[in-house]
C-alpha cells in the first residue's frame, strides 16, 4: 500500500483491522522515494471474501492512496532477521557453517555470541531458526516481510 505520510495514517489502518476483526500477521512501513508517501506491506489472512472486503475497507480510508494485492500476481517477498545466538565451544563452528549454508552474515562477534543477519523469504528465516541447535537462540528480531510485484509495472501514483 502507498499511504499518505501523515500522523495517524498507521493508526487508521491498524484500527480498521482491530475494529473489523481482521488479522494483521505482519506490517512493515517506511518512507519511499516520494517524501509524501509511505509504503506499507501488510500480511493478512482470510478467505477470498474476507480479503476482498479488507481491500475495499482499506481503499475507503482517505489516507490510503494505492493498494495492490501481491498475492494476485508473481511477486517477490523478502524479510530480514537479526538473530543473536549463544556461540561457545563447538557450537561456534556449527553456527558458522549454518550461516554459510543459508548465505547469512555474521555481523557481530563476542566470546560467547554471534549476531547473524539473514534476508530472504519468510520460510527461509523459519528454516534457519529451525536449524539452530536447541537452546542456542538468545534473541530473534524479524522485520516482517516486504514485497514487490515482478515485472516492469510498479505501484506508483
Amino acid at each position: 500500500m502507498l499511504v499518505e505520510n501523515e500522523a495517524g495514517a498507521l493508526s487508521r489502518i491498524a484500527g480498521l483491522f482491530s475494529a473489523r476483526g481482521y488479522n494483521i500477521e505482519s506490517l512493515t512501513v517506511a518512507a519511499t522515494d516520494e517524501a509524501s508517501l509511505s509504503r506499507m506491506t501488510l500480511v493478512t489472512s482470510g478467505n477470498d471474501d474476507i480479503v476482498e472486503q479488507i481491500k475495499k475497507q482499506l481503499n475507503k480510508l482517505i489516507d490510503v492512496v494505492k493498494l495492490q494485492d501481491l498475492a494476485e500476481g508473481e511477486h517477490i517477498e523478502r524479510e530480514m532477521m537479526l538473530i543473536k545466538v549463544k556461540a561457545a565451544g563447538p557450537d561456534r563452528e556449527e553456527l558458522k557453517r549454518l550461516t554459510e549454508i543459508f548465505r547469512a552474515k555474521i555481523i557481530d562477534v563476542t566470546d560467547a555470541s554471534y549476531i547473524v543477519e539473514l534476508t530472504g523469504a519468510s520460510r527461509k528465516l523459519d528454516a534457519f531458526i529451525g536449524a539452530v541447535p536447541e537452546g542456542l537462540i538468545t534473541e530473534v528480531v524479524r522485520s516482517g516481510p516486504t514485497g514487490i510485484l515482478r515485472g516492469a509495472k510498479g505501484l506508483t501514483l
Binding site: A7, G8, G15, A19, D49, E52, Q53, K60, D63
Partner: protein, 596 residues
C-alpha cells in the same frame, strides 16, 4: 449527495477572497464556514474554542449559532438538519468533555451516513500529550466513528482542511468529519492572508460519479427476465435524492418495492406498489416477497442484520443486483451477482434510459401472478391490533398522528417500540420526512434532531415521537427549543417501560423484566411547563384526536403531548433472531388475545 467540488465557491466570493485579507485562525474558521454557505452552527462554548466563539460573535448574524444544552444535542441537531435539508450539518464544541459528549452523535451520523462537519477545540499544540486540562485525543477517540478526521497543527493548513472536511463529508457515501483545532492555532493575534481554496486535490479520494454502463445494462436485462422481482431500497436512495427517478423506474416496471427503515419515503408509502418496510418488524408481504423473489434490486441499502434476518435464509432464490456508491457495502454481508458502484440517483436514471431505449417490458403474465401472490400475503393483515381496546394503543396513536397532520409532517423519532410503530403506521410519501437513528439506534436522538429539522424548515410541521425512556436522555434540549422558539410537537408514547427491552424480555427471557420498568417518571406536563412550554396529557382513546388537533393548532408553541398507552403492547410482526424472512411471528389473533 451532490459534491460542492465541481462548482467550487461562488466566483464573487473567490474574487473577494483574492484580496486575501489577514485573518487569525479563529476568524478563518468562521470565514470558512461562511464561504461554505453554512447557515447554522450547533454548539456549546468552552475554553479551547473561546477564540473561535469570539470571532463568531464579531461576525454578528453572518452565521446563526444555536446554543444547545449538551454537546450530544448539538450533533443530533446538526444531524437532523442535514437529514431534513440535504445540506451538511455543522457543530462547534470544545475540547475534552465537549468532544466526548459529541461522540454519540458523531457515531449516530456515521452509521447512517449523514454529512456533518464537527469542529472541536483542542488544547494548545505545545501541551498536547501532557494530560492538560480538558485534553483528550479527540482524533483518536473519534477515528472509528467518522468518515475522516483531522488535527490541524498549522494555521496555514486550516482553511484548506475545513474545505476538505466539507467535501469529504458530503461527497461519495456521506459521513461525519471531525476537525480538531488546537487553541494556539486560533490565536487572535497571529494573522495570515486568507483565501478559501477553490480547487481541492485529494489524490486518494475519488468517489464514483457514475455507475458502469455495462453493469447497468446487465441489471436491466435481469429485471426484464424476472418473474418475481422486488425493489429493496435503503437510506442511500434518500441521501442521494434519488426519489424521483426511483419512483419513475419502479412505476415503469410495475414491480413491488419494499424499503428499509432508513429508506422510508424515497418511494411513496401510500402507493399500491409499496409493500411496507421489510426486516425484523417489516410487513409479512414484504418479507415473504423477499423470500420468494427471483430478482432482488437493492438500491442504496446495505443488507443490515435487522433487514436480512438469518443470512443463510436470505433471498434463497434471487439473483441480486446491488447499487451503492460505497464499494465496500457490496458483497459485504450478502454475495451479489450484479454489483454496480455509483451514486444511486445517477444509476437509477441510467437504468431508466436503458430500459426505455431497449423498449423491453417485463413478463406481464408472470408479474400478474406475482402480484396475485403478494395480494394473498397482504390479506394476512400482519399489522392488525386490538382497535376496541379501552387503552390507547400505540399503533392507534400513530394512525391518529397521521390523520391529524394529513401525512404532511417531518417526524423525528427516538429508539424503541415507538420508532417501529411510527415506521409501520405513518406512511411517508416524501423523502427526508422520516428522521431516525437506524444504524446506531441512539436513544435521545429525536428531540435534538427535531430542532435541526425545524430550523431547516421553519414553516413546516415538525414532531418528535418518543418514549418516556428515550426522551429523558436529551430532555435538557427543551430549553434550547424555548430559547429559539421552536414549535416542535413531542408525541410521547408513554408506557412506563423501555418497551422494546420489555418486549424482548417477555419473548426471550420468560417475562423477567430486568430493569426495563421506568420507575419514578417525572410529570411530563409539569416538566414541559417548567421549561416554558405547553404540556398536555391524554389517557383516553376518544380524546386523543382532539388533543392532537389542539396541540398542532398551536403553530408557534412547543407542545409536549404525554400519551399514556397500553404498556403491554408488542411490535408485530417480528422476525426473531436466527430466523429467515419466511418465519415471521404474526400478531396474536383476537381469540389468542382473549385466551391470554
Amino acid at each position: 449527495m451532490q459534491s460542492h467540488l465541481a462548482d467550487g465557491p461562488d466566483p464573487n466570493e473567490t474574487a473577494m477572497a483574492a484580496e486575501r485579507p489577514l485573518l487569525s485562525g479563529a476568524e478563518i474558521a468562521i470565514q470558512a464556514l461562511i464561504d461554505e454557505g453554512v447557515e447554522y452552527v450547533f454548539g456549546y462554548p468552552g475554553g479551547a474554542v473561546l477564540h473561535i466563539y469570539d470571532a463568531l460573535f464579531q461576525r454578528g448574524d453572518a452565521i446563526k449559532h444555536v446554543l444547545v444544552r449538551h454537546e450530544q444535542g448539538a450533533t443530533h441537531a446538526a444531524d437532523g438538519y442535514a437529514r431534513a435539508t440535504g445540506k451538511c450539518g455543522v457543530c462547534l464544541v470544545t475540547s475534552g468533555p465537549g468532544a466526548t459528549n459529541a461522540v454519540t452523535g458523531i457515531a449516530t451520523a456515521h452509521l447512517d451516513s449523514i454529512p456533518l462537519v464537527v469542529i472541536t477545540g483542542q488544547v494548545p499544540t505545545p501541551v498536547i500529550g501532557s494530560d492538560a486540562f480538558q485534553e483528550v485525543d479527540t482524533v483518536g477517540i473519534t477515528r472509528p466513528c467518522v468518515k475522516h478526521n483531522f488535527l490541524v497543527k498549522r494555521l496555514e493548513d486550516l482553511a484548506e482542511t475545513i474545505r476538505k472536511a466539507f467535501y469529504i463529508a458530503q461527497s461519495g457515501r456521506p459521513g461525519p468529519v471531525v476537525v480538531d483545532i488546537p487553541k494556539d492555532v486560533t490565536d487572535p493575534n497571529v494573522k495570515i492572508p486568507y483565501v478559501y481554496p477553490r480547487d481541492l486535490n485529494i489524490r486518494s479520494y475519488n468517489p464514483a460519479k457514475r455507475g458502469h454502463l455495462g453493469q447497468i445494462r446487465k441489471a436491466v436485462e435481469a429485471m426484464l427476465d424476472a418473474k418475481r422481482p422486488i425493489f429493496y431500497t435503503g437510506g442511500g436512495a434518500v441521501l442521494d435524492d434519488a426519489a424521483a427517478p426511483l419512483t419513475e423506474l419502479v412505476r415503469a416496471l410495475g414491480f413491488p418495492i419494499t424499503s428499509t427503515l432508513m429508506g422510508l419515503g424515497a418511494y411513496p408509502m401510500t402507493d399500491k406498489q409499496f409493500l411496507g418496510m421489510l426486516g425484523m418488524h417489516g410487513t409479512y408481504e414484504a418479507n415473504m416477497a423477499m423470500h420468494e423473489t427471483d430478482c432482488l434490486i437493492a438500491i442504496g441499502a446495505r443488507f443490515d442484520d435487522r433487514v436480512t434476518g438469518k443470512i443463510e435464509h436470505f433471498c434463497p432464490h434471487a439473483e441480486i443486483i446491488h447499487v451503492d456508491v460505497d464499494p465496500s457495502s457490496i458483497s459485504k454481508n450478502v454475495k451479489v451477482q450484479v454489483p454496480i458502484v455509483g451514486p444511486v440517483g445517477s444509476v437509477v436514471t441510467d437504468m431508466l434510459s436503458i430500459l426505455r431505449e431497449s423498449g423491453g417490458r417485463p413478463d406481464q403474465t408472470a408479474l400478474a401472478a406475482w402480484w396475485e401472490q403478494i395480494d394473498a400475503w397482504r390479506g394476512i393483515d400482519c399489522m392488525r391490533y386490538d382497535r376496541s381496546s379501552p387503552m390507547i394503543k400505540p399503533q392507534f396513536a400513530v394512525e391518529t398522528l397521521y390523520k391529524v397532520t394529513n401525512g404532511d409532517l417531518y417526524l423525528t423519532s427516538d429508539v424503541g417500540q415507538h420508532q417501529m410503530f411510527a415506521a409501520q403506521f405513518y406512511p411517508f410519501d416524501k423523502p427526508r420526512r422520516w428522521i431516525n437513528s437506524g444504524g446506531l439506534g441512539t436513544m435521545g436522538f429525536g428531540l435534538p434532531a427535531a430542532m435541526g429539522v425545524q430550523l431547516g424548515h421553519p414553516d413546516a410541521q415538525v414532531a418528535c415521537i418518543s418514549g418516556e425512556a428515550s426522551i429523558l436522555m436529551c430532555i435538557q434540549e427543551m430549553a434550547t427549543c424555548k430559547q429559539y422558539s421552536l414549535p416542535i410537537k413531542v408525541v410521547l408514547l408513554n408506557n412506563g417501560y423501555m418497551g422494546m427491552v420489555r418486549q424482548w424480555q417477555e419473548f426471550f427471557y420468560e417475562s423477567r423484566y430486568a430493569h426495563s420498568y421506568v420507575d419514578a417518571l417525572p410529570d411530563f406536563v409539569a416538566l414541559a411547563q417548567s421549561f416554558g412550554h405547553v404540556g398536555m396529557r391524554v389517557e383516553q382513546p376518544d380524546q386523543l384526536e382532539s388533543a392532537m388537533r389542539e396541540a398542532f393548532a398551536m403553530k408557534d408553541r412547543f407542545v409536549f403531548l404525554d400519551v399514556i398507552v397500553d404498556p403491554s403492547e408488542n411490535v408485530y410482526p417480528m422476525i426473531c433472531a436466527g430466523k429467515g424472512h419466511h418465519e415471521m411471528e404474526l400478531p396474536p389473533t383476537m381469540s389468542e388475545r382473549e385466551l391470554a
